[in-house]
Amino acid sequence: MSGVASGWAWVEHLEDGGTTPWSDFLASAPSAPVRTAPLPGAAQLELARRINLVTPGRPHPAVTRILAAGAPGRGPQDLPLVGATPPSAFGPPPVDPAAVPLTELVRVASGVLAEDLASRPVPDARDPQPPVPEVRGPLGPNIAGRRHRILRLPIASLDALLYDEWVARAARGRVRSWPAWTKHLASADRLPETVDLVARAADWDRAWWRRVELVGTPPAATIDAHAVAVVRRVNTLLGLLVDDRCRARLAAEVIVPWLGRQHGPRLAVPAAQADWVRARAERMAGQLADAGYRVREDFSVLAELDDTAACATSTDEVLAVTVGLLRDGWEQR
């Protein structure tokens, strides 16, 4: 029995909704006709199996797309399936799909998700501005009161405000990783405009008929950092597949609504930047207090950073999000 024939038998098994791991499957000496297409790589095969694991025995259309996909971006390509590929002195060493690093499964999955999004029909529309997922009081202008006189600014811990701004950027397009972004802010000693409450308040307060209010924001659900990790990967690839206008539409109509429903743990500021964030928060609190705005919150909240949250996502969780998305789509979850 040839290894290649066994490999194609496993492909058939997966296309039919099978979930048997490759090593167990191979032990039963299966065989199927060898197709002319190249045998899918180990990462693609294992990802397909994981899709099937959610509802075993039911073929899922995503499996076919996954098995035909290449892995986008940099990293190993075409990981040969151990036991199904003739030995070769060249190319990457054959691997058991169960041993493929989870990051490789996420990589393949992100590519398929991006291709799926890019292949959606795009109705003609004016340039949309994707809304920011609102989770902790609005970070955009929050104007209330008679004749739009009052600007209400949220007072929450500065790390939470920064996280929300990072999520909003990730939803719209490419953004650096959370550690890189916070490091960049700290090294430039600069807050994003939306989070620089001192500057925003001063700008609004310049006209005599306007007023600024500083309000506390109730504890709200945060956007799951693992969902943001998926969106970051997909958005990077979308840049290769569709133009800016189409990408903005997909963000507004598909990605942001989905992201807004993904509540979960956020990320903490990495330890190396925590002192900077705390110092900026204290400075901000002092400047806002000195400015004499109407206050409905204790400023000390600004500097109360969350040191219980993780600073990085878990690849396991990110993979779980991508598998769920591939199975259920952007609208269902």
């Binding site: 190249p38 986008p72 190993p76 075409d78 002195a89 060249f90 190319g91 060493p93 090294s187 290769l240």
Partner: protein, 403 residues
């Protein structure tokens, strides 16, 4: 090859990096019109069109440049399908395409209906390893040379550096992906001559591979991708360590890669050159011999000599770029500072010019506001805005004017 073939065909030049590919691509781009009169289509509306096409084909983000690559592969594939004679597509990063990407490429070019030829230009590993390390450094990496080599020698090959290196440099594996579905005579290996060979020899081999020998091409090109010496590469690596967190790719490319590396540091030709320590050279040589053995039985068309891939002479002296002579690095750093100061001065002068232009424009604008006709129109608008009828009339007027 070219002279022996006839009819519609596509020549896919898929690598490898550091084999004179930029020069070839620039010559092809500069001679597009002339080539078409000889039946050869090089479908490119910008010099990097095939680079963008490769990014698109392989779904490869590239520091933000990928947004310019949307649909780039399909565009050149369509042009190739429409051209009745020979089309040349050339980019070295195509070497790393996976099997599904190769499948997509061949299908988009109407294979097997269209005759496809794959050209791979190749150079010995002993020169490719330090050249690729230098290329990594010029693309913001801060990895040291010894660590780089250690990653390459790790049999696992799972790291980004190793997977990329072997993806674009492991000749038998590249050909197994790109040439599996082609007859061996349609696969052409162009070997880079050994050091010290006649400088025109590589071009002659390329010209033969692409059927350009009988065309009077303009061979002058502006763009060069020169190599750096040991202290210069060490300096750029240290710069990367210092600025990577703060300098975006959009600024890194023109300032570090172009201004410092290509335009300034590469001119320091007397510095010691990059090479391999003896033990690494032995390992690379052994590997090269294995590759040559695997390739020579394949029946590929070799333009040059497979022996070029495994030169027998070991390097005479190795200068370790991880422990460069600090005096040499300092001198290179002074040149770099000078270049940055001159560039800053140039930009400051440019800024002054722009400020002057803005001031001129503001004055011109001010003068136009003072014209009686403008003031009359402004007065009319203010008056119209004060009444319901006037506002309706203004709205209708703006609609007619498409505002």
């Amino acid at each position: 090859m070219g002279a022996a073939l006839s009819g519609k065909r596509v020549i896919l030049h898929v690598g490898t990096p550091k084999t004179g590919t930029s020069y070839l691509q620039d010559v092809l781009f500069n001679n597009i019109a002339l080539l078409r009169t000889h039946g050869i289509n090089y479908p490119a509306d910008r010099f990097d069109a095939h680079f963008l096409a490769a990014l698109d084909l392989m779904r490869l983000p590239w520091g933000g440049l990928e947004t310019e690559a949307v649909g780039a592969w399909d565009k050149i594939a369509a042009q190739a399908r429409d051209w009745p004679d020979t089309t040349v597509i050339s980019h070295e990063i195509l070497a790393t395409a996976s099997r599904p990407h190769v499948q997509r490429a061949l299908e988009s070019l109407d294979h097997p209906g269209t005759e496809i030829h794959v050209v791979l230009s190749v150079r010995d590993l002993a020169r490719q390893i330090p050249a690729e390390w230098q290329e990594n450094v010029k693309h913001r990496r801060a990895i040291g040379f010894a660590d780089f080599v250690a990653e390459l020698r790790d049999p696992d090959r799972s790291g980004k550096i190793a997977s990329w290196f072997w993806g674009v440099q492991e000749i038998p594996a590249i050909l197994s992906r790109w040439a599996d579905q082609l007859p061996p005579e349609n696969v052409h290996l162009v070997t880079v001559p050994p050091p010290g060979a006649d400088k025109s020899l590589l071009w002659q081999r390329f010209a033969h591979a692409f059927g350009l020998t009988d065309i009077e091409l303009d061979l002058h090109v502006e763009r060069v991708n020169p190599s750096l010496g040991v202290p210069e590469t060490a300096l750029v690596r240290r710069i990367n360590e210092t600025v990577n967190a703060d300098l975006t790719p959009a600024h890194y490319r023109p300032l570090v890669r172009e201004l410092l590396a290509h335009q300034t540091l590469s001119k320091r030709a007397s510095s010691p050159r990059l090479g391999l320590p003896n033990d690494v050279w032995q390992w690379a040589h052994q590997l090269s011999v294995q590759w040559v053995t695997a390739l020579q039985d394949k029946g590929y068309d070799v333009i040059g000599d497979l022996a070029d891939l495994a030169p027998v002479t070991a390097p005479e002296e190795f200068t370790d770029p991880d422990s460069p002579r600090e005096r040499q690095v300092n001198r290179a750093a002074l040149d770099a500072i000078k270049a940055l100061l001159l560039e800053t001065a140039r930009m400051r002068e440019h800024e002054v010019e722009l400020h002057q232009r803005i001031a001129d424009l503001e004055q011109a604008l001010e003068r136009s506001y003072l014209r009686p006709t403008y003031r009359a129109r402004e007065k009319a608008v203010r008056k119209l805005q004060n009444s319901e009828g006037g506002r309706t009339a203004m709205k209708a007027y703006r609609k007619i004017r498409g505002r």
